[in-house]
Symmetry: C2
Subunit: 129 residues, 2 copies
């Protein structure tokens, strides 16, 4: 099984990356936005465990490798012009490093952002203190 034909349709940017939206497959929750390079897409498809490319660390990031909060791939989707991915996942625990279920926990009010979701676990539980 080769993923060449799948990779060929993805429009990676100048840095070789494509934005990937992780969505919980059954509830519809948008969990996070991260980035994938070619290797991350291939590994995700090959293993069924979601792998991103960490721009800050400059290397593959197997989601949950530190925190245990892994994402199992349900389905990978590509958008109309090929430059964005939607990753339908089954998220174990929490997606956000702050201990919240998803990363989008700030909502724009009249003049400021305000938090709309509580931490479900303490970050030090996820990563050690």
């Amino acid at each position: 099984m080769t993923h060449d034909a799948i990779i060929a349709q993805i429009e990676f940017d100048a840095q070789g990356l494509v934005p990937a939206i992780a969505q919980q497959h059954d509830t519809g929750e948008v969990l996070m936005l991260a980035w994938m390079n070619r290797d991350a897409v291939v590994e995700t498809l090959a293993t069924g465990r979601v792998c991103y490319f960490s721009r800050s660390r400059g290397k593959l990031w197997r989601k949950g490798e530190s925190s245990g909060q892994t994402q199992r791939l349900i389905e990978l989707r590509l958008d109309c012009d090929g430059d964005a991915l939607l990753v339908l996942v089954d998220q174990l625990g929490v997606a956000c490093h702050t201990g919240r279920r998803d990363c989008f926990f700030r909502a724009a009010g009249e003049e400021h952002w305000h938090e709309v979701a509580d931490k479900l676990v303490a970050p030090e539980t996820l990563y050690g203190s």
Copy 2:
């Protein structure tokens, strides 16, 4: 009412852009991924009608200005590290220029992408022939 404090928390990239995920607020459908610059965020908040920045046209893109398929802002969310937006919207009609409800209509199979959503309207109905 000023949006300075809201804008100040957004980490725009080197091109002055931030990725914005549009999600239908009640069904949870991920409709599309587009980009916003500072002006697009301010206009969206000020008018309640979602405005992006078109990278291909190099200017503000008031979603639906050609097609009539507008997005009404329900809530704007920001992620944990400030470099991605989630735009909860009420989508009129279809979000995708192909005439499909959302842009993520290709799913990865064993070796190829396959389409998983039908066109709801003909593109030429949206933009003229």
